[in-house]
């Protein structure tokens, strides 16, 4: 059993009032809160170790470099990547995907090739591929989903062909909560020779990921959705792919030797980390991963399932509420519309009850188009949320419904 009170004690931001009521933070799919250990680690870095990495010979630079590289090792182990050379730090999921589309896509995608994505992708796993298709004449294909928000696996199988060069699939949908069967999808895609990119922005804080067991080619995620800082994330990719890919950005740190005639690129992972990175962010990311490990993903998943079940039951009983996304395999996300109250109004009304949710299209407009809604309201849960907070959500929803009655 997890000690929720102790966990809540780890997150200073939770202990505040808004409009005289205790904060109920249910916007975790947008970004999670940060535990004290992450805040302290970032602070310690700036107070004691701040300096640039991979270049100084002085003590601070050596300490900063060691902490930065220790984070890489922590993250490698967490995802069970084969080598730390396969762990590339980026600004987040969005930059990781753009890196792949630009570098790998630029070198490997040509006219008539197909890139296969799903109907439930975040815009960050749609737009970079559209841009690539525009540049190269490749074709973007979309795997459909059913009303519950589950991928149509028969359609997936029939969309796969020798023309498919890349499958891009979200591990867990931020708009619906659906968890996709990436293991079988990766296997099927590999049969036709396609590479597979999994967007783990939502999943990585909830589901254990073993990139070797999955045999996934590219796995990407963002630290800020896993209790870490914003503006930092990771691309984990097979070493052979990364070796063959051209650099994404040029600059410092990614070179071995520069003359005006020619530049020799640095080894992995530095080849893809041009410029001074978000050093404090990376170090904080490592600490956030350790925090997750200290609780254990298994315990986290179990606890979050209990909470989602509790919330889903109330949602079913709530008059006028329609859940958007009812996949059998889902986690942490309760997306819905309420008869007679626009999600945006819900967002404002709930805010005044100190309940923070997201209202909008969740950067997944095609999902909204599929359900023919302009927007949804979304409550998303994390390890520190409680049943009492779910009750507060539904009490606030009842108020909103009454206001528009």
């Amino acid at each position: 059993m997890m000690n929720i009170e102790k966990i809540r004690g780890d997150f200073p931001v939770l202990h505040q009032e808004l409009y005289g009521k205790p904060l109920v933070y249910l916007d975790n799919a947008a970004t999670t809160q940060k535990p004290q250990c992450v805040i302290d680690t970032v602070r310690h870095y700036y107070e004691k170790d701040n300096s640039n990495i991979h270049r100084g010979v002085h003590a601070l630079s050596e300490r900063a470099t060691a902490a930065y590289e220790a984070s890489r090792e922590t993250i490698r182990a967490f995802f069970n990547a084969k080598s730390s050379k396969e762990v590339i730090f980026t600004r987040g999921t969005t930059e990781s995907i753009n890196l792949i589309a630009s570098s790998w896509g630029g070198a490997n995608i040509g006219k008539g090739d197909e890139i296969l994505i799903t109907h439930m992708e975040h815009h960050s796993n749609i737009v970079p591929w559209q841009m690539l298709c525009e540049r190269t004449g490749a074709v973007l294909k979309v795997i459909p989903m059913n009303d519950a928000g589950e991928l149509d696996m028969d359609a997936f199988a029939s969309l796969l062909s020798e023309r498919t060069k890349l499958l891009g699939v979200v591990h867990m949908s931020n708009a619906l909560g659906s968890i996709n069967p990436i293991e079988t999808m990766i296997q099927q895609a590999h049969v036709v020779g396609a590479k597979v990119l999994v967007d783990g922005a939502q999943a990585a804080a909830h589901i254990a990921v073993d990139v070797q067991a999955l045999d996934v080619d590219f796995y990407v995620t963002s630290a800020h959705k896993m209790y870490g800082p914003t503006g930092v994330g990771v691309l984990i990719a097979k070493q052979a792919l990364l070796e063959a890919m051209p650099p994404y950005q040029g600059g410092g740190d990614m070179i071995l030797m520069v003359t005006f005639e020619k530049t020799q690129y640095n080894d992995l992972p530095h080849k893809f980390e041009a410029g001074t990175p978000n050093i404090a962010g990376v170090i904080g990311f490592g600490e956030a991963i350790k925090y997750i490990q200290s609780i254990g993903l298994h315990a986290i998943a179990e606890r979050e399932k209990t909470l989602l079940d509790y919330a889903s039951k109330q949602a079913q009983a709530f008059e006028g509420l329609k859940q958007i996304g009812t996949a059998k395999e889902k986690a942490c996300v309760l997306s819905f519309v309420l008869d007679g109250v626009h999600p945006h109004d819900l967002g404002t009304i709930l805010d005044r009850e100190a309940v923070a949710i997201r209202a909008g299209h969740h950067c997944a407009m095609p999902v909204m188009q599929f359900y023919k809604v302009p927007a949804t309201a979304r409550a998303s849960f994390s390890i520190y949320n409680t049943e009492a907070e779910v009750d507060a959500l539904f009490a606030a929803l009842a108020k909103a419904r009454d206001m528009f009655a």
Binding site: H342, H344, G347, F404
Partner: protein, 151 residues
């Protein structure tokens, strides 16, 4: 502190539930789409302006939250029969009201019923919901200034 009741006044709830002048205007000589990417509000405003620059008829369509729907509904009500010069005055007054300091009272003499939307200024993320229809109408009317669109 403003309360929710200041934003969601009964007039606004009423216009949300039964928006006035809702639907397509056919024929019309100016129209434009407005879009608020933050919340997905989509609005289409249609106007018929006569030779003496009077707004003879005005309607709107779209999907939006209560603030954007009520604001569009109230806007069409207040502008029907008014001149384009009146529109300019109301546009500025409305914009001032929505972005004014919290302590400033709205100019009810100019704004009339539109003053019920003054509460949005306490809700920064909702100001655009209220002003979307006004900007949409402005672009509809401004387009009309372009020779190619003049009928």
């Amino acid at each position: 502190m403003f309360s929710l009741g200041d934003l969601y006044q009964q007039v606004i709830i009423d216009h949300t539930k039964s928006p006035r002048n809702f639907g397509k205007l056919d024929p019309c000589n100016h129209d434009a789409e407005g879009y608020n990417p933050l919340c997905g509000d989509q609005l289409h405003v249609y106007v018929q302006v006569n030779d003496s620059n009077i707004i003879e008829n005005i309607k709107f369509e779209g999907q939006g939250c209560s603030i954007s729907t009520a604001s569009a509904s109230l806007m069409t009500e207040s502008l029907k029969g008014k001149s384009l010069a009146d529109f300019e005055i109301l546009f500025d007054a409305f914009h001032d009201m929505a972005t004014a300091d919290l302590s400033d009272a709205p100019d009810e003499e100019v704004l009339g019923k539109l003053a019920v939307l003054a509460g949005v200024k306490e809700f920064p993320s909702r100001i655009k919901c209220a002003t979307l229809c006004w900007h949409t109408l402005k672009s509809a009317i401004d387009d009309a200034a372009e020779p190619a669109r003049t009928e």
